[in-house]
Symmetry: C2
Subunit: 245 residues, 2 copies
């Protein structure tokens, strides 16, 4: 009986591999994740119920950080391989949510919502459902940013966040270590209702029309890196949490 319990314990411990703490009973979640990351599965509204545990453990465990790290390393390697013109038109585009700033602590802490509300109440004097997005911490995106800046890239943050949240975004970008940028493009009232793909394509085309060269583009959604003028090279940050089309 004791031996059986011991074996069960070891079986449990060693079954943990793909993501910390996640015991792979239904490996189709791995296939679903791969299919999502490769843009084979699109327009999904929610993580499949049977994969909620997988996604939770993936995002909060080591594998997500490792997966993000290899993307960041390849981004940096590519950026370093370029020769810039240096006329201020060498642009790198960053998405913000889940690329530049993270909302993961929101999911990790049961009391996080109170922290956010308390924090932003003083910032905005109003509470909105979108505010949870603003609990941010430093991220792999920051390593990329910190490498690109001294190389001479001009940074453009392109986000689907509404214009009215501009100063919260600025506050959080600066708090996380993003101290300077060429442009911070937020979604104006006129663009509300436009899909992310169309909106971001339009904004990038405006940049190109003004003479900018988009040399790179980093985002966690395919709608960040597909469409018109997506950039000479694009990089996809893992994100099995939600889909924005």
């Amino acid at each position: 009986m004791r031996l059986a319990a011991l074996l069960l314990f070891f079986a449990t411990v060693f079954a943990i591999s793909r993501v910390d703490g996640y015991i792979e009973q239904d490996v189709d979640c791995l296939s679903w994740h791969l299919a999502v990351e490769t843009n084979n599965v699109r327009n999904w509204k929610l993580v499949p119920e049977e994969c909620e545990q997988y996604v939770g453990h993936y995002m909060l465990g080591k594998q997500y950080r490792k997966d993000f790290k290899i993307v960041a390393n390849n981004t940096i390697e590519y950026a370093k391989s370029l020769t810039l013109v240096g006329d201020g038109k060498d642009i790198w585009i960053f998405d913000i949510d889940k690329t530049t700033l993270s909302n993961l602590p929101y999911y990790a802490r049961s009391d996080a919502i109170w922290l956010i509300l308390g924090h932003y109440h003083t910032m905005t004097q109003s509470l909105t459902s979108g505010l949870w997005r603003e609990l941010c911490h430093q991220y792999r995106g920051l390593c990329v940013y910190q490498t690109l800046l001294p190389l001479g890239f001009k940074i453009v943050f392109l986000t689907g966040t509404a214009e009215r949240f501009k100063y919260i975004r600025i506050f959080n970008l600066k708090a996380a270590g993003y101290h300077t940028w060429e442009k911070l493009i937020l979604k104006e009232e006129a663009d509300q209702g436009t899909s992310a793909l169309v909106y971001k394509s339009k904004k990038r085309t405006e940049l190109v029309d003004s003479g900018c060269r988009i040399l790179g583009n980093l985002g966690d959604q395919w709608s960040d890196i597909l469409g018109d003028n997506s950039g000479n090279r694009t990089f996809k940050v893992p994100d099995p949490m939600y889909y924005i089309g």
Copy 2:
């Protein structure tokens, strides 16, 4: 001592999870694989040495089949959602190698090379280094094909294989169950030296110029599904074995 051996046995058995028979000591191979599948890592020549075991077990184990299956299911779901014009111009493009036909038995059997040589010697009366590519078996791609055909899609096989192998390809397509198609496009002498991306874009543009509507496109390489006229929707079959740009 016996208990220790027993525990080691269970530890080994239960450590096998992501891919059959592969014990995850260096999980960065998972990150590398994800980065490859998402087109973050490009122009790689060889599987990193430390990931050879991972890739071998992945391809020959259950996970590859599951990963391919979800792609096939999503392809079929999308295809069924379409309303075709039915004028013979509703096109679906299939890559051949690793999408439509598999060369996996080549890797799985140590004697496979002899089988191939024996088989194709009678086919071509000459032996070339490319012939190993022709040992094929039925594949997930066939399920997609068999669903698309009665829906009214016209099938175009678009491959980087040289024109001189045309009849070997036809033989193997038919042997695997692909009994009919609209076009089988192989790489002509004039296109040798052209990258897969440029070559496939050119051939697809010719199809579109002739009035075809490319409704879907299935391939294992990003160069199959990026570029001009890639199709209304594209699907990426997993492939951590090689990169064709």
